[in-house]
């Protein structure tokens, strides 16, 4: 780490950016609710929250995006492409898990055979300034998914919150373009030492707090509440802090033979079939293309979709090959832990913990992973 940015200079640094590029960063929508937004004023930026509800993928693959517009004028048909990206973009404050997720989406949208123009344009025009996680949450399991609270992969610049200043690492070519920025000062030995300590502490924390669930959630009866649940009955029992990762190795192989297993009959039971986990997931990327048309004009729009919605797989004939929650939950798990690894050699989960934290019925994917491995 050679550089630092004093927090008292942050406002001016951001204002300088806003003048030159389109800046995106987390803003507070209401108490406890955050979102990445295009920044007009430096004061809007709020880097205090660990991860906004919606992941950073929304900036590259927006939830709703117009592809082109069309109109019939007399006997003529006019088709106009959606406006492309005109300005350089900077994303500030994305967390390492979300940045990892972008590299997973790159495999698909910037694939060997097909390149998605909408995604590609935004990706090329964007510099990612990642912020390390000093305080990983108890729901974070990035280190089990080949990530970590200070993993730099995919980041152009990397920030470390040192308290009074951010430590700055310029990693890629795009990142090195910031080297001349007048607000970047040289960091001294103490800053580097502090950064290293923070990194070690956070990495250790996420490694330790990644729970080791014991037994099977739904399929086996627990005489005792399982290990990582702070028991309400027995008082403040510390969750087991063991140096352990989620058992993720070879999960795709484990899933192959159980596709028709009764395992899924029980796993999906509590899922109510909403789209919280998939829409807030930084790697989920299913979409639906619709025409929004009225009279002689319309537009073709691409919207996020969710495999947990019945409509997702409903065919025109009325037949639905995934008729119940059983098949739909299975699809969610299979896509992340079997199909994606088979095609791209990567698990489509970064361990950000959003699906764990926001599920209305506490469906915990960490428990599901353990259940699969134990089955």
């Amino acid at each position: 780490m050679k550089w630092k940015l004093d927090k008292k200079d942050l406002r001016s640094f951001l204002q300088g950016l806003i003048e030159k590029v389109d800046l995106y960063a987390p803003v507070k929508l209401s108490e406890g609710v955050f979102s990445y937004k295009k920044i007009e004023q430096a004061e809007e930026v709020d880097l205090t929250h660990p991860n906004p509800q919606k992941p950073v993928k929304d900036l590259f693959f927006p939830q709703s995006e117009v592809m082109f517009r069309y109109e019939k004028v007399g006997k003529e048909h006019q088709v106009v492409s959606a406006e492309g990206v005109k300005k350089e973009r900077v994303v500030l404050g994305a967390r390492p898990c979300d940045v990892q997720a972008i590299s997973i989406l790159d495999e698909l949208f910037l694939g060997r055979d097909t390149i998605d123009e909408f995604y590609s344009q935004k990706r090329k025009a964007t510099t990612i300034i990642c912020l390390g996680c000093n305080q990983p949450r108890s729901t974070c399991f990035c280190s089990s998914m080949s990530g970590g609270p200070f993993i730099r992969t995919g980041s152009d610049l990397f920030l470390i919150d040192l308290g009074e200043a951010y430590g700055v690492e310029c990693l890629s070519e795009k990142g090195k373009a910031f080297l001349g920025n007048k607000f970047l000062k040289e960091a001294d030995g103490n800053d580097s030492k502090r950064a290293k300590e923070l990194e070690e502490k956070a990495t250790q924390k996420v490694n330790l707090s990644t729970p080791r669930p014991e037994g099977r959630g739904l399929l086996k009866v627990h005489p005792e509440p399982h290990a990582f649940t702070p028991s309400l009955k027995t008082g403040l029992r510390a969750p087991e802090r063991v140096n352990s990762f989620l058992p993720i190795e070879n999960i795709e192989k484990k899933l192959d033979p159980i596709i028709e297993s009764p395992f899924w009959d029980r796993l999906h039971e509590k899922c109510v079939g909403c789209g919280v986990c998939t829409l807030l997931c930084p790697t989920c990327h299913c979409f639906d293309i619709v025409d929004e048309a009225l009279n002689n004009r319309g537009q073709r729009v691409r919207n996020w979709d969710s495999c947990l919605f019945p409509l997702y797989s409903l065919e025109t004939s009325g037949h639905n090959p995934r008729p119940t929650g059983r098949e739909r939950t299975r699809q969610r798990i299979m896509h992340k832990f079997n199909y994606y690894p088979k095609i791209f050699n990567r698990i489509a989960c970064v361990g950000c913990g959003r699906c764990v934290a926001y599920c209305p019925v506490n469906f915990d994917i960490r428990q599901a992973i353990k259940d699969i491995q134990d089955y």
Binding site: S138, F228, P239, V276, L280, F363
Partner: protein, 314 residues
């Protein structure tokens, strides 16, 4: 103890095969959370729990288990939903066995998290207090200060109708602050109301957690999913978001038991119950009707009488 009685009742029902499964609450994997459990054997029923975090309305699972005989753990509000569903003929008589729990009012986990600095890692109940612990802190918070809005207003905590009531009926009263969100809404001018509604709905991500958490949203095809006719688009245009929320609320008129499950499910913390609450209040004033209290009285908006006031239809 309620928890013990719930377990005993569930075990008994399962042992004598009076039901195929019992749906209740088990320990969650996160502090301040319980999670639904589907117990099929008396042994599995040993995982049933009861505490102030049993926030879900489990009646929403009845549509998923429509072919089974279900023992259902219900609070006052959940039992009202079941009565309302019964009036709408959603199951056969005798198919559902209600294990009624007189409710202590549920605790709002998000309110608690916001009251402390740092992540809550452990929590437990201690009499009238919730003790929460994080890396740098341990605090006791007064339970009554952190109740869900819908719970504060509740005057039907003891299930009105239950096949097995596992505890003594509790005293029914609403807290002073009850319904203050409806009162505040009523105080606003139409423009202010619209701005408030607009601001709340603007955060919607169309995950439909509010719909799925609600027992009364059982339509085989929701109006948002209909493609012919297409009532609204699927993007994030403000008019589409607003349309969804207006219709969702209206479809609940005189059917909503004010359990608050919709608002608790929303990951974007959109306020929803002021709308359904206001509509319920109107139904009560206009028709003297409350959802799920009288098992014989159909919801006023889905019935008619020859003596009905007809002037508004021209």
């Amino acid at each position: 103890m309620l928890q013990q009685k719930i377990r005993e009742t569930a075990k008994e029902l399962l042992a004598k095969k009076a039901v195929d499964l019992v749906i209740g609450f088990a320990e969650g994997t996160l502090p301040l959370r319980a999670t639904p459990i589907f117990a099929r054997t008396p042994e599995e029923a040993d995982r049933l729990i009861w505490n102030s975090f049993c926030e879900n309305n489990l009646a929403t699972y009845l549509r998923k288990f429509s072919k089974f005989r279900v023992g259902l753990v219900v609070k006052g509000c959940d039992a009202r939903s079941v009565t309302a569903l019964s009036l709408e003929k959603r199951f056969q008589p005798g198919q559902i066995v209600l294990i009624g729990v007189p409710c202590q009012r549920m605790v709002d986990r998000r309110k608690i998290q916001k009251a402390v600095k740092g992540e809550i890692l452990q929590a437990r109940e201690d009499g009238d207090f919730i003790v929460v612990k994080g890396e740098q802190f341990e605090v006791s918070l007064k339970r009554d200060d952190f109740l869900y809005q819908s719970c504060m207003a509740c005057i039907h905590r003891t299930p009105v109708k239950a096949d097995r009531l596992v505890g003594d009926p509790v005293e029914e009263f609403a807290f002073e602050e009850a319904n203050h969100e409806i009162k505040e809404f009523e105080k606003m001018s139409p423009e202010e109301r619209w701005r408030f509604f607009e601001k709340e709905t603007s955060r919607c991500i169309r995950c439909y957690a509010c719909r799925e958490a609600c027992p009364m949203c059982f339509c085989a095809e929701c109006f948002v999913d209909s493609s012919s006719p297409k009532w609204l688009e699927k993007g994030l245009t403000s008019s589409d978001l607003q349309f969804y929320h207006v219709i969702r609320a209206y479809h609940q008129t005189g059917r909503c038991s004010e359990c608050g499950a919709c608002e608790r499910a929303c990951p974007m913390e959109i306020r929803l119950t002021y709308l359904t609450g206001k509509l319920n209040q109107d139904v009560k004033e206009l028709y003297g009707f409350e959802t799920g209290i009288d098992p014989e009285a159909p919801p006023p908006l889905s019935t008619f009488g020859t003596e009905d006031w007809q002037e508004f239809i021209k």
